[in-house]
Amino acid sequence: MLLDVHALSAWYGAAQILFDVDLGVRRGEVVALMGRNGAGKSTTLKAIMGMVDRRKGTLAFMGHDISRAEPHRVAQLGLGFVPEDRRIFTDLTVAENLAVGRQPSRRWPDGSDAPTWTPEHLYRLFPNLGGMPDRPGGRMSGGEQQMLTVARTLMGNPFLVLLDEPSEGVAPVIVEQMAQMILELKGQGVSILLSEQNMHFAELVSDRAYVLEKGQIRYTGTMADLAANDEVRRAYLSL
């Protein structure tokens, strides 16, 4: 297991959002965390990073206990986070946004090289960004910002990326590019845990799925099984 989450609970202020969530991601996998709005998907990802007011549970990432680690420590271990609301540094240029995310290259525990990214590399992966390295983040379209926030996290050469709703609020053509990008990352050996509401998108890219409702895991299985399971989809995912 790359990431192993056991009995994760999380709170915002006095409100408990997550209740004993168990989930895991293996090396090379793309795992979808499905659920409706407010089910706790984003909170799960933030809680893994340590970005909630309070959390409880056992979290291990590549053998390191991160149950109490601060976000920067988690990121330094090679766990990348792409927030749903993008959080681009609007005053900084594209190149500077990427520079903020930069971390040293990594090796897998077996000594082989982990995926490593440079700006040139990322500009090839996202040609739109390559055309505007000096543009301030604040003067980009939503889709371009979505690409930049992914690219910025990749600059940290993560083993695993937590990707929060990559298909939300962007044009269909960008959604398609996002799916392409995820498959490409997978091909390069990056594992991904993505939160998603869009069944079609998740089906396109994921190996396995968890379904979250009211802060609890309701279903665990392969993506194909979930796609075939009308009952679960109707109960927890349909609108």
């Binding site: 202020g13 990073m49 970005m51 601060e70 976000p71 920067h72 420590r73 990121a75 330094q76 986070f81 927030p83 959080r87 540094f89 609007t90 005053d91 900084l92 500077e96 946004n97 520079a99 903020v100 995310g101 930069r102 971390q103 910025r152 996290t153 940290g156």
Partner: protein, 632 residues
Amino acid sequence: MDAVASFVAQLLNGLAGASSLFLVAAGLSLIFGVTRIVNFAHGSFYMVGIYAAYSAVAWIGEGPGYWAGLVLAAVAVGVLGALIEILLLRRIYHAPELFQLLATFALVLVIKDAALWLWGPEELLGPRAPGLRGSVPILGRQFPSYDLFLIVVGPLVLGLLWLLLTRTRFGTLVRAATQDREMVGALGVNQAWLFTAVFALGAMLAGLGGALQLPREPANLELDLATIGAAFVVVVVGGMGSIPGAYVAALLIAELKAICIWLGVVEIAGVSISFSKLTLVVEFLVMAVVLVVRPWGLMGRPQAPSRNAGAAEAPLRAPDRLAKAAIAAVVLALFALPALSSQSPYVVILTIDILVAVLFAASLHFIMGPGGMHSFGHAAYFGLGAYGAAILLRATGAPMEIALIAAPLIAAVGALVFGWFCVRLSGVYLAMLTLAFAQIAWAIVYQWDAFTGGSNGLTGVWPSAWFSDKRAYYALTLALVLAGVFVLRRILYAPFGYAMRAVRDSTLRADAIGIDVKRVQWVAFVIGGLVAGLAGALFAFSKGSISPETLHVAKSVDGLVMVLLGGVQTLAGPVVGATLFTWLHDSVARSTEYWRAMLGGIILILVLLFPQGVAGFVRQVVYGRREAKGGS
């Protein structure tokens, strides 16, 4: 010709003065940008910079080592800043903004007394810089060559800072953290060290600004508050977080001051106006104008909503039976006090001071806590009340009773005018504008000798015959203070109070449900001013004399400290805070020469131990446990 020469000389003088001001302001701006801490102790870093440079130069000896001494002093202040960040501020980044402010204010007190202990109370003027002792003739006048050097330093440091911020990884991280520090952390950057580095850099700039003044200005213990006031103004005028803006603002203010000095006394339409007297307020006038016309500063940008907003405020609780019983017991004890303390009349005098402080703090709390408007200049209304009462009594011979009714109204009129401008802003900008108005009011009182008695103040402000006995006056004060506090509480539980809190919690939503946001804030501001005016009038009659101190910035800060000490989000907070503060102030000041350091130390301990304020802490202990039992 000579007029032109003196004009140019004054302009150059202004340029030289702008450099140090810019260095301090740039550091303040950087620190605020990244850590969101409004560092009140920044002026203290400047002051320590001069003192440290004095000692360093004395230690190294003059000659080329002089310059090494200045640099050494700046570095030492940088190290001091780093230590403060690591030992103190790091523990309170998650505390409410105002608590951080309180902590840095406590630092001002501690550093001031540390400087007193290390360097003594005498002014210390450093030796002149080797190689720059002479002067250069400019238009037939001798201009000090050191000042020419200073003129160059400002733009030089501006350029270096610009390179640092735009051309280095550190600078990129600083700019990113200024916008969204949590995201910077999630990308693997250890914010703790970034904050330390920025704080140290900012402190070092302030220290350098001070050290460079060594040959121009004697080191003294009053420099801290004077400098922080000026630096705040520069940062706000230039635009929060804009370094070039800080330079432009420093230049603008220094030059306007220079021009005022050059103009001197001028006859305009038969009235002689002393422009040189204006130097005391010119920066605050500039700030007031800028904040009204362009609230985000000359080169700043409208503030993005902060990502690090504190937790939502808990609703106010209505007092339960236990709290009501406690209040009743305290009130009874207060009425019985004169009889109980007949052996020690000082108790009554001290309690009057405490009661006046309670009313002042309650009025400030009213606009700060439930109103959400952080006023740094509340003493203006206290002072207006005090002066209003005194002038009415002396000029018209009106009895105390009339003065006590009229004075709060005078303060309310002041709040009506100032408040109209202030409620158009929010956050730090609102705080700065209140400070600016308070400083303007202070400067007028301080300089209008004929009307306000100038720096000497007014004497002979005594109560009417039947209240001349201290115990009678005590009873009057107690009754009025209780009434004032009760009315404020009553308003908070009335629909108007709900509207106030709705506006504080979400301006947009309050607006959308039909609350006239500005009007609610304005009315709240005026009520706060009115009650503060009553406190001021009571103060005047209790002392018999008043001075411009009553509306000095230090008085405003006292009020802030009281409110924060007690806790902003509890109604008992200002009462507890004012009592504790006045009592501490009184007892500590009598027991040691270093009372400021003691007071600062106590405040720091309280901040670290009780981040919700003393009253908030007590409430948590009493009710938190009960809820834990009753709840899940």
